[in-house]
């Protein structure tokens, strides 16, 4: 296999030589922190908020946005490609920890997620007041016609289709779990990337869709969110996942600014930020900048 090792070796060397000039540089002289964010508007805005507040407090920040999905960004954090990123407390339990019984409060979810992450050399800082939960949405016209109130009422519509993002079909928040908890055996899945479910639902390509409660699209279209009376979607506050060694090294210098930003993120605030980014099409950087300035954090 000597030739093959030689070949891959030369590949790596050649590519490294080629890209060394393309690597980004950071301004300032403070310690370097790499912030990551996931692949949707809310995460970009939060990544920008964290990056900008840390820059304002003297860190040199590298922001790597748009890392997805949950598995990829988690791997990136554990392999030291990033130092912190905003994650949903329920997602940590549902995707990585997978406990037998889910906590029944937001606080319990946060504590369980933090305990789990601390077992892997990571930790959670203070969570946001807002939650962004998964929910099932339908067209309001269908909700009226069939008298839909809870997710289970979808059985009345018979054979229907459900829009689900591809990495959440078999997960505990996903299509399979909804079908099982609400006995919706006649409901077929239609995998669609996050965001595409809104036009699909509006155009009648699907009859129900997995949505996020802080999405501004829920206000743009005439949709109704069905009640999750079996409580399968859990609790989803956001908290920065950070490597513990970093918290030990920088202490409050690192945690205080992030806690300060998180404390301001109420549901109303987050919806306004999401709307500015997703509906008014301002860049996440600009949205975060205006919010931090308005709150005297920058």
């Amino acid at each position: 296999m000597r030739r093959r090792t030689l070949l891959t070796g030369s590949l790596a060397v050649a590519a490294a030589a080629g890209v060394s000039t393309a690597a980004g540089s950071v301004a300032g002289t403070g310690p370097v922190i790499t912030v990551g964010s996931k692949q949707f508007t809310e995460s970009w805005v939060m990544g920008e908020l964290y990056a900008q507040i840390l820059t304002a407090r003297g860190f040199q920040v590298v922001l790597k946005s748009n890392i997805g999905s949950a598995d990829i960004i988690d791997r990136a954090l554990r392999s030291h490609q990033i130092d912190l990123y905003p994650e949903y407390t329920g997602v940590i339990l549902q995707t990585f920890a997978m406990p037998k019984r889910m906590p029944v409060t937001a606080h319990g979810t946060y504590e369980a997620a933090k305990r789990f992450e601390e077992g892997r050399g990571l930790t959670l800082l203070r969570p946001t007041p807002f939650q962004n939960r998964n929910a099932v949405a339908v067209r309001t016209s269908d909700a009226r016609k069939h008298g839909l109130r809870t997710v289970g009422d979808l059985r009345r519509m018979g054979r229907i289709s459900y829009a689900e993002y591809p990495d959440n079909i078999t997960g505990p928040l996903g299509y399979d779990a909804v079908v099982k908890a609400y006995r919706l055996s006649a409901m077929k899945v239609r995998p669609l990337n996050i965001g595409l479910q809104y036009p699909a639902l509006k155009n009648g390509d699907v009859d129900a869709a997995d949505v996020f409660t802080t999405d501004p699209q829920l206000r743009r279209y005439d949709f109704t969110v069905l009640e999750d009376d079996q409580a399968i979607f859990g609790f989803q506050n956001v908290s920065p996942v950070v490597r513990r060694s970093l918290v030990e090294r920088y202490g409050r210098r690192l945690t205080e600014p992030l806690d300060a930003v998180n404390a301001l993120l109420t549901e109303k605030a987050m919806q306004a930020l999401n709307e500015a980014a997703a509906m008014m099409r301002l860049s996440p950087a600009k949205v975060a900048d205006r919010f931090l300035r308005a709150n005297d954090l920058k």
Binding site: R3, R4, L7, S10, L11, A12, A14, A15, A16, G18, V19, A22, A23, G36, F40, T41, W44, K64, S65, N66, I67, G68, I72, A76, S79, Q81, T105, A106, H107, P127, T128, P129, Q131, N193, I194, G195, L196, Y198, D215, P216, Q217, F235, N237, A263, L264, T266, A269, A272, E275, A277, A278, M279, M280, R281, L282, S283, R290, F291, R293, A294
Partner: protein, 244 residues
């Protein structure tokens, strides 16, 4: 409510005024020129430059690897199958899978993206170079040797010039292919014209898709045209032959 439990005694945020937008932007019109021009310097311009850089490095490095391999295989014919097989194998790995597999090793970096991009250029560049080198008719080579040229001189003065058109058409295919695979690289690095498209998926905005898409198409056409032009300049004899 459970969310208030976590919000206990929190400060109240000031929500800034984010201003107003044109009706085209608000209603997600097909192509909002105002938004495209307002965001060109912050979004499309840098993405286009990154796209060009990622492509040039990938095709350049790919060529520096594939061409010597093709030369090697040209002289050692028993290497044709294993090298062709290896480059074909790399070509068949789905881009998304390769990017994901490389992340734990090389990180969410340009290096990871380039390793994957380079590996996709190898098959086309290797095969086109090898075909080009092999296209020289046996009697032409013999004639060269008969005129007293050494093996090296035959390579430099006969085989390489005659291989050029095939190499150039390989470069055209590799470049246009790379321009499209770079779009997928945006899944791991926030660079290139795929970035505005991926970011637009979460909250679809036509101007963002159409703007980035048109720029990618324009880039592919421009790159292809440029290589054709350079190819003509490098093979003046081909043109002469046509005009005679």
């Amino acid at each position: 409510m459970s969310s208030t439990l976590l919000a206990a005694a929190g400060p109240q945020p000031v929500i800034p005024d984010f201003g107003t937008v044109s009706s085209c932007v608000r209603d997600n019109g097909l192509f909002c020129v105002d938004w495209f021009t307002a965001n060109f310097s912050s979004m499309f311009g840098p993405a286009l430059v990154q796209h060009v850089r990622l492509t040039v490095i990938a095709v350049g490095v790919g060529f520096l690897i594939a061409f010597p391999l093709a030369l090697l295989a040209h002289f050692r014919r028993r290497l044709v199958k294993p090298l062709g097989g290896l480059t074909s194998f790399l070509y068949t790995i789905p881009p998304m899978a390769l990017f994901t597999l490389l992340v734990p090793v090389f990180g969410l970096s340009v290096l990871t993206a380039e390793i994957a991009l380079v590996s996709y250029t190898l098959m086309v560049l290797f095969k086109s170079s090898l075909t080009g080198l092999g296209e020289v008719p046996e009697e032409v080579r013999r004639a060269g040797e008969g005129m007293g040229l050494t093996r090296r001189e035959v390579l430099w003065r006969i085989e390489l010039p005659l291989a050029l058109p095939a190499v150039i058409s390989g470069l055209r295919v590799a470049t246009v292919t790379t321009i499209s695979v770079v779009e997928v690289a945006a899944f791991i690095i926030d660079q290139g014209l795929g970035s505005p498209i991926i970011q637009g998926l979460q909250s679809p905005f036509n101007t963002q898709f159409i703007g980035a898409g048109l720029l990618a198409v324009a880039l592919a056409l421009a790159a292809d045209g440029l290589i054709v032009l350079v190819g003509r300049l490098l093979t003046p004899w081909a043109r002469t032959r046509r005009t005679v």
